[in-house]
């Protein structure tokens, strides 16, 4: 991760755990606006995203 990104993550944001699933869901909850980002984020792993117990979302790095 870049130092800029690291710095951003230290900003006074989260004494609260935003929840990993809840962060991703915001792409869907945003509706049309989130579609492009959603597919960029999920890439080929789209189908495995909602599979319970799936490990595939942990695999690989950049799409």
């Amino acid at each position: 991760m870049s130092s800029l990104a690291n710095e951003l993550l230290t900003l006074p944001l989260a004494y609260l755990d935003p929840g990993t699933g809840a962060m991703i869901l915001q792409l869907i909850a945003a509706g049309i606006a989130g579609v492009v980002v959603f597919f960029k984020f999920t890439g080929r792993r789209f189908m495995s995203l909602f599979r319970f117990g799936s490990k595939s979302e942990d695999e690989g790095g950049e799409e």
Binding site: M1, A5, L8, L9, L11, P12, L13, A14, Y15, L16, P18, G19, T20, G21, A22, M23, I24, L25, Q26, L27, I28, A29, A30, G31, I32, A33, G34, V36, V37, F38, K40, F41, L49, F50, R51, F52, G53, S54, E57, D58, E62
Partner: protein, 485 residues
């Protein structure tokens, strides 16, 4: 989290070096802490908290929302004022201090009727929307950050506003769902009151628990598929991921506009949520069904006489029903807390108060034989009623038969409880000959020998001086006005 205390706000001056006390519920955010000093509500800010405050102070929405009463009025204290207080350990180590206006009586979402939780949610979203327009965000989204001046909600947690880093999702979204959206959905879609859920779980209802209550049909109701079903599934599949989701979201192009769109859609969704029963079922709610007009007037006059007998700051109306006597108390009292176990009655009261812009009467729903206890971390994060302010008068009209016969509480204990509050009381005794009591006893064995007028008078006399009593309704009911000794 919970920020403000009770009583009026004294103005200006310097901090007092001693006598400060921490607000026990404000520990979660390390960037600020609330404490009370000499009757004032103060907040220490960390370095990061001070920087966020300085950014917030420069925005246009902040002053606009304060003027509109939607954010609690807050002022930065002068450094010399802080210097005065350095002898107090609670004042040490903070980068800056704010002083907030005091909230007349702190209340919690598990005490609010549906309309109050809904209006608090809409306030939260409105502030989010306004903040986003100026590149700030609310870093959390909890109803405990909303408090009330009567029926007017105000946001109290100033350090929740922080600059929004580019590419960062809304950290408070899940909390918004668990503490606002799911409870509202439960009431609106399932007819299940959320109060016990919120009282039982300080962090709200998790997505999978909410999903467990939804039927197939419910998945097609607005918001359920996305905010409940998909969120529960994603939470399940990502709970132990090692992937840097925040970083990946940023790389994928996550931007503020997505939060704006989400907030806009959530606002529309919350506005659509309605508690249908509250809209349709409203008949037979007059409390005094066994009173005729003249008797009713007599009761009104009696209560008014008791309220105005002394200057009052805070009146509690136990068993307020539709709030008729709360309104009489509020004619001459700045703050009235109107409490009833009947959610529908309190909802109606709130809707009426909100429509007229009433800022004196705070309507709360809770069972009076099981009123809000101390809760949360070390049992001090959320206080019971008494810790949030002492009443100087308590009204108990058409209540005592519900407590003794309905809830099996010994009459002497009920009077002792009133005595513990340290306030004057108005008590209405409803005899067993009254149709209301007959209804309560219809399916029960009458083991209530202690439910007796003379016994009540003896109990009252131990702790109170009965100033006035009047028989109403041909002696079926008796009103007592008693001063605490």
């Amino acid at each position: 989290m919970i920020e403000d205390g009770t009583g009026p706000a004294p103005a200006g001056g310097t901090l007092e070096p001693s006598g400060g006390s921490l607000e026990r519920g404000s520990f979660r955010d390390r960037d600020s802490r609330v404490f009370y000093s000499g009757g004032r509500v103060l907040r220490g800010l960390s370095e990061a908290g001070r920087e966020a405050w300085e950014t917030l102070e420069a925005t246009s929405f902040f002053s606009r929302m304060i003027s509109a009463g939607k954010i609690v009025s807050s002022d930065r204290l002068q450094p010399e004022a802080v210097h005065e207080g350095e002898g107090d350990p609670e004042l040490a180590g903070w980068s800056a201090f704010l002083e907030h206006a005091r909230i007349p009586f702190v209340s919690y979402p598990y005490e609010w009727p549906f309309g109050m939780l809904r209006d608090a949610a809409l306030l939260e979203l409105e502030l989010m929307s306004a903040a986003l327009a100026e590149d700030m965000v609310l870093k959390d989204a909890t109803p405990y950050n909303v408090q009330w001046f009567g029926a007017r909600p105000t946001f109290i947690d100033i350090p929740s506003f922080v600059p929004l880093p580019p590419g960062e999702p809304w950290a408070g979204y899940r909390q918004f769902c668990e503490l606002f959206l799911y409870p509202l959905m439960l009431q609106a879609y399932k007819g299940v009151p959320y109060h016990a859920w919120l009282r039982g779980s300080i962090d709200g209802i998790p997505p999978d628990h909410c999903l467990g209550m939804m039927s197939l049909r419910d998945l097609f109701r607005p918001g359920v598929m996305v905010h409940v079903k998909l969120q529960a599934m994603l939470q399940g599949s990502f709970s132990s991921t090692k992937r840097d989701v925040r970083g990946d979201l940023r790389k994928a192009g996550f931007q503020k506009e997505l939060i704006v769109a989400n907030v806009r859609k959530l606002t529309k969704l919350v506005k659509r949520l309605r508690w249908k029963q509250a809209q349709s079922e409203w008949s037979d709610y007059a409390e005094n069904t066994s009173y005729d007009d003249a008797e009713h007037r007599q009761k009104v006059d009696f209560v008014r006489g008791a309220v105005t007998d002394r200057a009052r700051q805070l009146v509690w109306d136990f068993g307020c029903n539709t709030g008729e006597y709360s309104r009489i108390a509020a004619e001459t009292t700045p703050h009235v807390v109107a409490i009833d176990g009947d959610h529908l009655a309190v909802e109606r009261l709130y809707q009426g108060l909100a429509a007229e812009g009433n800022e004196r009467i705070l309507p709360l729903v809770m069972p009076l034989n099981d009123a809000s206890p101390n809760l949360g971390w070390r049992g001090t994060e959320r206080g019971d009623l008494r810790q949030r302010g002492a009443p100087d008068l308590v009204l108990c009209l058409a209540l005592i038969h519900h407590m003794v016969i309905g809830a099996n509480i010994p009459l002497a204990e009920f009077v002792d409880h009133l005595g513990d509050l340290g306030a004057d009381v108005v008590v209405e005794f409803v005899s067993k000959a009254d149709p209301m009591v007959e209804t309560l006893l219809r399916n029960k064995e009458d083991k209530y020998d202690d439910y007796d007028q003379e016994h009540l008078e003896r109990c009252l006399a131990r702790l109170f001086e009965v100033v006035r009593s009047e028989a109403v309704g041909g002696g079926r009911r008796t009103l007592y006005y008693a001063r605490r000794r």
